[in-house]
Subunit: 291 residues, 2 copies
């Protein structure tokens, strides 16, 4: 029997945990939970785990810019895969406690308090204002903690906004599913690590690079993009980030919808380096999406 | 006596509160506190307050992408000013409780637990690992809450990571100042609202625009940037964001180091519109920085 792989991830019941469990369900992998994203990264950097699961866009699990900074400045772990996972928040509580006797459904008037992570609450703002305007809102450090607080306080009219998985783990009911205001909210996750990763069903291959311009002069970015533009190489994301050396000094985080294993992309990168830019390949990897 | 202005901001003791108090200290303005960023925005959109204070980069007060999405999709409030504020986290507790009898300084061994917001903890990761490796870490919804928990639990060996202001409000001591791992961490804040804003001392004027490309074709961004490049107009930030209509459909959030009140910038924008792009001006405003 081959030894199973391991992946470091944010705490049990977090949104990262839910996304990791879904993405890795057909991969023999054991999840190792850590409270801080720094420990998630360090675990893989030290070789204790094969991969780290990192929320990188639109997430409620911490600060995206902090995660990108760690990936760029603190560790050197190639990106092995990305997946895009819908943000689904639910109203969670005890169906019997929050329904009128004999009624089959919950009664909003019976909910006196709603607990959740502040960003999850903001994502469900219109729902809360329309259906539960009378309820007190209490913010906690995570949706998982909010759901545990509801579990530990029966009979008080409490409900939480959180994930399906955390509700199930606590034996609570989904009073109402998918209460997020925009049903097209997606979070993007990366799997990073030194161990190769295999999984079928990718929708495309992508390459992520980091470009540091030789000096801060107007039009430098335009010149860099020329190398991609005339080759008709599509960029799916571009973002400037401060270098941390001084304000006004930037690098660019660029996602390209093409594998490094082609003729055009390595040629474009070689030209960008030739004009004096530093280019770092963060990974060339399969991209998966779930609709 | 002229009526003072009002500004909506995230809760008392939050990092936004500290940044707002600092930036607005010489402006006659009353701060109105709200738990959710949605209520911060809505308060100004409804006309209850003159301005909203919005953390927009590198923040621990919520999700930057959510804040940008609100600014773009949910409200129509022009940017009136921006300021860049250093992220300073401190180790907070009771000096007398955490020092050995007769010693003037705190003893790390007396700290059994450190409480904070998970992102603030991640920002002080190396400090915590080096100085307090034995301490239990507990994450709460905000640094302000962590500091209140320390205030409410004397004699238990607890300390918190949080802001100077929150420590002062709770009558606690700064055991060690500026314990953030990187001393060049900055958060960027915007002041948005329909009321004009005046303050002296800006370091430059900036303009923020949103560009939606006519269709998703390779090189479109390159063409847009040409209009800025040949005029030597410097972009200080560029970021692609999904339009929320469908995946793979993007708009670009661009910050320009030039006032709209010039010859070159309106001309560039007119050309970008002429080639079929939608351009929305988010604001042309003074930029302040604190070193």
């Amino acid at each position: 029997m081959s030894r199973a792989h391991t992946a470091a991830v944010l705490p049990k019941g977090s949104f990262s945990d839910e996304a990791a469990q879904y993405f890795l369900k057909d991969v023999p992998v054991e999840l190792k939970y850590h409270k801080l994203i720094a420990d998630v990264f360090k675990s893989t950097a030290k070789g204790d785990t094969d991969w780290s699961v990192v929320p990188i866009e639109n997430t409620i699990d911490g600060s995206v810019s902090l995660h990108i900074d760690w990936l760029v400045h603190e560790v050197d772990l190639p990106i092995r895969a990305e997946w895009v996972f819908p943000v689904i928040q639910n109203l969670v509580g005890r169906q019997d406690e929050l329904s009128d006797p004999g009624a089959g459904t919950w009664n909003p008037q019976r909910i006196v308090k709603v607990l959740s992570h502040p960003v999850a609450m903001a994502q469900c703002y219109e729902f809360l204002r329309a259906r539960l305007p009378h309820a007190e809102l209490e913010t906690l450090a995570s949706t998982a903690e909010a759901i545990r607080a509801v579990r530990d306080n029966p009979g008080r009219g409490w409900a939480a906004i959180g994930t399906h998985t955390a509700a199930e783990d606590c034996g609570l009911d989904l009073l109402e599913e998918a209460v997020t205001d925009h049903d097209n909210n997606y979070t993007r996750f990366l799997l990073v690590g030194n161990t190769p990763f295999e999984k079928a069903g990718a929708s495309l291959r992508k390459t992520s690079i980091l470009i540091t311009l030789p000096e801060d002069y107007p039009g430098a970015l335009h010149q860099v993009l020329s190398a991609f533009a005339w080759r008709r190489i599509n960029l799916s994301k571009i973002e400037s980030r401060p270098t941390k050396k001084k304000l006004g000094n930037y690098y660019f985080f660029i996602d390209i919808e093409m594998s490094l294993d082609t003729v055009l992309l390595p040629a474009a990168i070689a030209e960008i380096e030739a004009i004096g830019c530093q280019v770092r390949i963060l990974g060339s990897y399969p991209s998966f999406s779930y609709e």
